[in-house]
Amino acid sequence: MNYLSPLATGMSRRRFVTMAAGAFAASAFPIRIAAAQTAAKYLRRNISSKGFPSKVLTSYRAAITAMLKLPPTDPRNWYRNAFVHTLDCPHGNWWFPVWHRGYLGWFERTCRELSGDPDFAIPFWDWTAMPHVPLHFFQGVLDPSDPAYIASYNDFFAQFSNPMSAFWNSFSSAQVQQLSQRGYNSINDLWSVVQGDPMFFPNGQTRALSASNANLDAATRRAVALATITKALAPKDFIAFGSDKAPQHSQSAGFGIMEGQPHNNVHNNISGFMEDMLSPVDPIFFLHHANIDRLWDIWTRKQQKLNLPYLPTGADQQAWTSEPFLFFHDEKGNPAPQTTAGDYAAIGSFNYSYEKGSGESVVAKAASQPNAPPPQNFPGNLTTHALALGTANPSQVTVPASVLKAAAAAAEGPAVFARITIQTPPSTHGVRFNVFVNPPQDSSALTADSPSYAGTLEFFGAHHHDQPVAFTIPLSDTLQTLSTSKALKPDEPLRIVVLPETKPGLSPAVAGQNFKSTLADISVGTF
């Protein structure tokens, strides 16, 4: 996976890597409200776990049945609750995780209220461990094709047209403004997309998957595989994890891995209601999103363990937390009192935790670096900018002796790298640049077998630009080798030599015909 071309035997003995992504201000997160839930009142269970209590689905069925029977004028009606998602859900932006946490949290309370089960908590579908729709969800009211659901769009419109118009007319000016940002300027705009996109699916078309074909397809299985999930959990900052920053939550800016891969692909693979904004009509929606919320909780706990920010920081923090969420309702059908994103940054009063599931090991394995020194950078002095084939270009970089001694002493020392910026040659074909540290004066010794050899830089593919390209090359192993052979003098500047050469098998004329390049800059850094 490296950019360094292994020169003969040179690479095998060298530890690859060691460069920092840059300093991270770990102290720059004043909000510490998303603490891990260790003693929560409610437990969201893994539906695929051994011993999953049947009572959970019994209560879920009871709640769904009750919500389906509520009149369309009641905000807790099953379809009215789904319309909250249609009207307000963010996708492709950094409010994706937090909005859905609020949406599920209030829904869970409504389920408790209407099922009569005071302990009910939404189970989660760990699609990584179980990449098929749970078979319970093809039975009874857990299947949106059940007769308890409305069978056709015409019936749906007939039942909900007037109640939705009345709901629309009740909106505050702030709600109207938000709907306008979404492109809904009238109730007719809403019905237009519900019918036209379409968002409503008649009986028999409510899902593409069935009890006899419940498996996620190959592409979706990859999207939920542990390899993808661990990548989704790897980002160090909230925006890279939770999708891109946007000016308001009805605007899409860009999809992070978690939203774009497992979230989107599971929705679309199930299809039917799940493929658009009335997706909460399908009861599997809530188990799918509980798993997304669980992954956010894992990511949060990983960040906390590493003393890294787990919410937007700096100026972003205020923009993110103050975003209005104006369409949630509580378990009694009244507007929810918490009306901003910041109100849902923590699990907080929803007071639930999750049973263990896929991805949890990311927290346990997180490599803590509590005493890691801050990254440093040391500029170099170039003897000349000119690069010529077969001619060593020497430069010097003064690096504190303490840094070199520590780097050379042990693998646990600071990682040291060189950053070398080269002006792209007109033709990169057949040319490479070998890099050496503190080499002997005899240029014939500049080979991959030399203890001074650090690596090789090569251009890849065609380059249609004339801007300099910066390469990073790890030096830690080389420094350790030089120290062993007493060729590293920590009190003296590092001598770094760049040697352009023709790749083996090509005549110098082929590569050198158009060769014209310069060394633009060189520096040494640590992290």
Partner: protein, 141 residues
């Protein structure tokens, strides 16, 4: 299968963390993108492709594979609104997808009731590579 190489025009900007689209290859079944990496992926980073797509039809999706055919990710816009407009999607690049100082991505548009095919330039508007700061777990990401 015959391949037609089509060099993309347009300015490329090499920043410290971004590699630009260098060239693409095309066959009726898939479009190949070769993206150079200006430097190695460092510890504390992971590599991701940021793919900008144009409008897609219902039940169309774009599968992104690496050189060995392994699926890196699939772009499946959620909802009609997302399908009908352009969008930016993050695809994690497996370590096996990085070789010879770059990444080769093979993109294929899958659709319901029709054979898979190469996406058009209007369907895939561009790709950049991004070094994302990432936490590393002991034993790998």
């Amino acid at each position: 299968m015959r391949r037609f190489l089509a060099k993309l025009t347009g300015a490329c900007t090499i920043a410290s963390a971004i590699a630009c689209l260098a060239q693409s290859g095309y066959s009726p079944r898939q479009r190949v993108y070769d993206l150079p990496l200006p430097r190695a992926v460092a510890p504390g980073e992971m590599l991701a492709a940021r793919v900008t797509i144009g409008p897609l039809k219902a039940h169309q999706r774009i599968v992104v594979r690496i050189r060995n055919g392994e699926i890196a990710g699939t772009i499946a816009p959620f909802g009609a609104k997302a399908r009908q407009s352009s969008g930016l999607y993050t695809i994690p690049i497996p370590e096996a997808g990085i070789s010879d100082g770059g990444v080769r991505l093979l993109l294929q548009l899958e659709q319901k009731d029709a054979p898979a095919r190469a996406p058009t330039p209007e369907e895939v508007l561009g790709i950049t590579l991004e070094y994302m700061p990432a936490t590393k777990s002991r034993g790998g990401y």
